[in-house]
Amino acid sequence: MIKIVSGQSIPVGSTVALANLCNQFHSRGHECTFFGPDRWHLDKCRSAPLSDFRPGNGDIVIAHGIRLRSVADLDDPGTLAGPSRDGGWRRALEDRIFNIGASRGKPDAFRLVLTRSGDDPVRAGRPAFSLFHKIHFSCEAQRDRRASRHPHFVCPDFVRDLKKPLARPERVAGVIGSVRPENRLEISIEKALQDGMESVIVYGYLLDPVYFYSNIAPFAKKYPGRIRFAGFVDDPQKMYDSVSDVYRCAAKPWSAVKRECILTGTRYHGPDSPETEEAACNDSIYDVWKNELAL
């Protein structure tokens, strides 16, 4: 069985990518479950709370956002559960792994794969790469030198099933991305308005409310009636249907937004990603995973 386990399952890009990964494996006949400490993922794919996670013999465990330092006895998942935002359960996991896995080597009973999909909004930190049988990167830009010394592969995230809408509004910009300083949403909003967009809708999970209130909310007073805040919307088709253009300023080439804009025929204004990654279809992405995991 394939088990995806993540240090967070709030609706940010990496969680969406992991839920897609789980759904893709499942739809192609592989038993797969996504375990996470939050609730968002629970109705998005075959999933379970993190407290239910336990690796079994022969499993493939795909880990994300966990700063593993050693492989541990994971037979008592109850101790893994707890407050997720302050990293309580993660620390418990790390400590137990560190104490029990004295060899700090790769596990024998199951295969352990690290995915660096997306970025790390909860700042889990760098894991001990030597623990993993393989490391997955979503794009070349993610492949750091230290991790690249270990067995690894590069493969874009699966894309969601999106279509071009029959009709869409004119000059309505979507600024898409989790609300936090790294995504520089304020620059995207300004650029959209300078380009003549009549209104801007901000779509994204509110990670940093203080950043939002000091940097984003003031636009509503500066441009009355032209700025709207939607939060993270579960249905990406509805989101793309509601805008004519998408603006992004975050220099994160692994984001799926550009590829989703291509699928939905939405004009995209933001950082480029390599054409090879843009062109990858889900079948070819699956072929890479199948090969790398020997499915």
Partner: protein, 257 residues
């Protein structure tokens, strides 16, 4: 054992399923009115019963309930408090915030137990982050009607299709708006909509009467929760803690029953 967090997710689940419900909140202001105490929230003045103290309320929060003059409105509030129906949830002041005596008073005043009792603070304190991050985005899935102060800027909320405005002491001065809204619902065949109320004690009477009138819509009292989006003041401690990063224990508080 009732759970502050699980009760919140119960409403989230109803919204996701698009199952209509009403969430009405009876917090401290309504508690004093139910107790038939004179209540004045004014400019530098707060009066609760015989107690007078300095206040910090803004014009949009000004309120005056006089037991003799306003008994009609108190009776309507009592109706809203004692009403029991499927999916009509009543949030009351909890013992950890209002104290044991007032908590008990509410239960005694209500009479028989209602399984739909919950917390007036269900969207606040330790649940506020969940409300903003997990419930607020669900409003995008609804055609949403808002009832709020005349000074609120609702253009920032992408899901609003209609707004009704109230002013000072809306419970008394805008009471007629409830009938106006009933007519609007009937004449336009409004079904499956979400109605959000940020209109103090007026909200309680309106939510009760509108849900009785048409329970095919969802009615929720959002209080001050969306002030950061609507250009209203962040003068509640939970708002300051969440949006301004001010240190205050309320933002982590998980209320008890």
């Amino acid at each position: 054992m009732k759970s502050f967090v699980e009760d919140f997710y119960r409403l989230v689940s109803l919204l996701k399923r698009r199952e209509p419900f009403a969430f009405n909140r009876f917090s401290d202001g309504e508690l004093f009115i139910l107790q038939n105490k004179e209540l004045i929230l004014g400019d530098n003045l707060v009066k609760i019963g015989d107690k007078v103290m300095k206040g910090h309320y803004r014009k949009e929060d000004f309120k005056h309930f006089h037991p003799d003059e306003h008994s009609f409105y108190r009776d309507r509030l009592v109706d809203a408090f004692r009403y029991t129906a499927k999916n009509y949830f009543k949030g009351i002041s909890c013992r950890c915030c209002a104290g044991e005596a007032d908590f008990r008073w509410q239960l005694d005043f209500h009479g028989r137990h209602d399984e739909n009792f919950t917390w007036a603070n269900l969207f606040l304190n330790g649940n506020y982050g969940r409300f903003i991050r997990e419930m607020y985005p669900l409003f995008n899935g609804y055609r949403t009607v808002i009832v709020c102060n005349e000074n609120s800027d609702v253009t920032t909320l992408p899901f609003i299709c209609k707004d009704f405005r109230v002013g000072y002491n809306a419970m008394v001065n805008d009471y007629g708006l409830i009938d106006t809204m009933k007519r609007w619902i009937d004449e336009n065949g409004i079904r499956g909509h979400l109605f959000m109320f940020s209109a103090s004690a007026f909200s309680k009477m309106a939510i009760h009467q509108l849900y009785r009138h048409c329970d095919a819509n969802t009615y929720i009292d959002i209080g001050t929760t969306l002030n950061a989006f609507t250009g209203m003041r962040l003068d509640r401690s939970y708002l300051k803690a969440f949006w301004l990063g001010a240190k205050h224990k309320d933002i982590d508080k998980i209320c008890i029953w």
